[in-house]
Symmetry: C2
Subunit: 133 residues, 2 copies
Amino acid sequence: MLKLTRKLEYALIALRHIQGQATEKIVSTKEIAETHRIPLQLLAKTLQQLAKHNIIEAIQGAHGGYRLKKSLDNINMNALIQILEGPIGIMDCSADSNCVQLDICNIRKPINRVNEAIVSMFDNLTLADITRH
Amino acid sequence: MLKLTRKLEYALIALRHIQGQATEKIVSTKEIAETHRIPLQLLAKTLQQLAKHNIIEAIQGAHGGYRLKKSLDNINMNALIQILEGPIGIMDCSADSNCVQLDICNIRKPINRVNEAIVSMFDNLTLADITRH
DNA sequence: ATTAAATACGACTAAAATAATCGGATATGC
DNA sequence: GCATATCCGATTATTTTAGTCGTATTTAAT
Ligand code: SF4
Ligand code: SF4
């Protein structure tokens, strides 16, 4: 309950790892996976998602890997979560959510406010805040 | 990811329902379950947990049910979560967590700060805040 | 050219967490 | 005594998350 996913953790670990290297160094998935004992394939797919969304840049072929494409100051946690997991929703109140309680629910509004508070918290947290400290 | 559980939702819905009744009225699980289309057995067990922790008072036997035992102003969301789901942890960093990354993890501290921020948010949110609006 | 090392990606399987149900016990008002 | 409730452990079902597999493609080095 209220847990982050491993995928998200792996992404943060990887971003911090990449940031710790020389700016132009190309870091391979393997290097990150071995350093931090992350399952290689899972990390690979995660990094591919980040590359597709222009957070990191992929260099293919032998001696390929990734390097940062944006400054981590300019990306917030909410954006990262959005990329990897979709929008934050502490519960599922959308129209197509087929929640049987939907139209008779007596806690929907306050719960939505809580959700917004969490979203806003992650909005105000840059990846640099996390990868720097 | 970052979702509340149904059990917790059901508890909130039930507490709000009970609060909406006359102060001394005894409300049965069945009444709440039918009004809000919540699975009876699951709600029953949830309310039992709340009763055990003195948030509501159980009246057994025919015409039994529950009524509030504490003012909802004096209970915060964090306490409710603690009762129903245990401590909030957006990830599992305890000593016995057998996370293989534990001793080489480069995001542990910042993640713990995020966790504390969430806990503190739920600490400052009373059940009355949720059941009233 | 061939090989080795890397990303790219869809499909699949495994594991864990959550949600719901079942079966019975106990209590109590009428 | 019976109907209606709470109580509660055990089990099953469902959903979500985590991880793996197989294969294709790219590219540097030889
Ligand atoms: S808050 Fe109410 S409507 Fe929204 S998902 Fe929970 S029960 Fe359904
Ligand atoms: S933050 Fe690091 S140590 Fe904590 S659970 Fe996640 S990976 Fe493991």
